[in-house]
Symmetry: C2
Subunit: 225 residues, 2 copies
């Protein structure tokens, strides 16, 4: 399956981390222009250099989170849960009219195999409330193993559930996920993100119980292209 999307400028904040760098690598490989964001610009530049070395061309650059977000059309938030709201706070000024993909999993250590949802439901809804209607917030990629993302071409046996109040933004993210080899489906409004956010703790519980490295889910009953 080939998914054609015009090349976009994608900032991945927290892009020096495991999940963020895996997504950044795959989108860079698919032909997008990727800007790695980090609190520490030097770390961001290192992560970008690593991607460029892997791909053998200049597909990624590095910057601080704010500069990365300002430069991009589409921003991916892949910072730890503890840093989520503070990071969003610093971005308020430069996201109007853009799409923000939130990858945050609200895990509360040490009990990561137990669902502990934030007050009021999903973590991403709080982000949408902070940013207001000017920013189209999309929830996705919470359940995808960072390890597998790093290995280009490796099939990932887990689907991406995409939730967004703006269906058009949600559908774009479905295509962006499919473009990098992931199964992806639009699962309705942002409130439905509770499932994807909470599922990570269930998958951790399944990994423990069945002694496997990476349980996942697949959506059934929908034909795949």
């Amino acid at each position: 399956m080939t998914v054609e999307i015009p090349s976009m400028k994608i900032a991945v904040l927290g892009g020096a981390g495991k999940e963020g760098s895996g997504l950044a690598l795959r989108w860079a490989d698919a032909g997008h222009s990727v800007i790695i964001g980090s609190r520490d610009p030097a770390r961001a530049q290192e992560a970008a250099a690593e991607i460029n070395t892997t791909l053998g061309r200049e597909a990624a650059t590095g910057a601080d989170n704010l500069s990365a977000a300002a430069e991009a059309e589409l921003i991916v938030l892949a910072v730890p849960y503890a840093a989520q709201q503070a990071t969003v706070e610093t971005l308020r000024g430069c996201l109007a009219g853009k799409i923000l993909i939130d990858v945050t999993v609200p895990l509360v250590p040490p009990k990561v195999a137990r669902v502990q949802l934030p007050e009021g439901g999903s973590a991403v809804e709080a982000v949408q409330r902070m940013l207001g209607e000017e920013v189209r917030v999309v929830s996705a990629f919470q359940n995808i193993s960072a390890h597998h993302l790093k290995h280009l071409g490796e099939e990932i046996d887990c689907d991406v559930l995409v939730c967004a109040d703006d269906a058009e933004a949600g559908e774009l993210v479905v295509r962006l996920a499919r473009q990098i080899g992931l199964g992806a489906f639009y699962g309705g409004v942002l409130a439905n993100s509770v499932v994807a956010e909470a599922l990570t703790s269930v998958l951790i519980a399944l990994n423990k119980r069945y002694k496997v490295p990476g349980a996942g889910i697949r959506i059934t009953g929908i034909p795949r292209d």
Copy 2:
């Protein structure tokens, strides 16, 4: 795959409804002694008679919810969400030392494609709090199509996520699900039931978006016997 479980006395409350009657039929077919419970004993007896006709033997009886629960070792709560807490309230006296499987999906019409979780997370946790530690509450079967349950032998392309604070009770329910032809996995503590409860709204959203009759999920990354 054959799963051997000694024959049990299973009460299915709300067993004249779609989901309850499907589960009751399958467990009766598997050799358990099933008591259909309903607010209306006449409806329960009708539903039991239908099962007996289908199977060609006396495998089910009907009673009011309280009598059904009192007589059984294992009680399945398959009433509508609006009746969940009131039904549990009437059962307090007769559940000590038993296992209660809660099948309730906390849908809030008319917006059934939007996750609307009860205050404090999952609906089943409120049931466990009402009943106290004497009753082992297990959450399961929220995402299984009633339509497919009714057709004995029909493969159901959706797994059952089983959640319980008591792992032993959870594992018994995993076996009871596998015995009637369902894929089932123990997904950790009762709080994790949020995923199964909320997933039904996501599946409804997927059905609408992709114009399919019954989206479901499969757990991946765990070998199946």
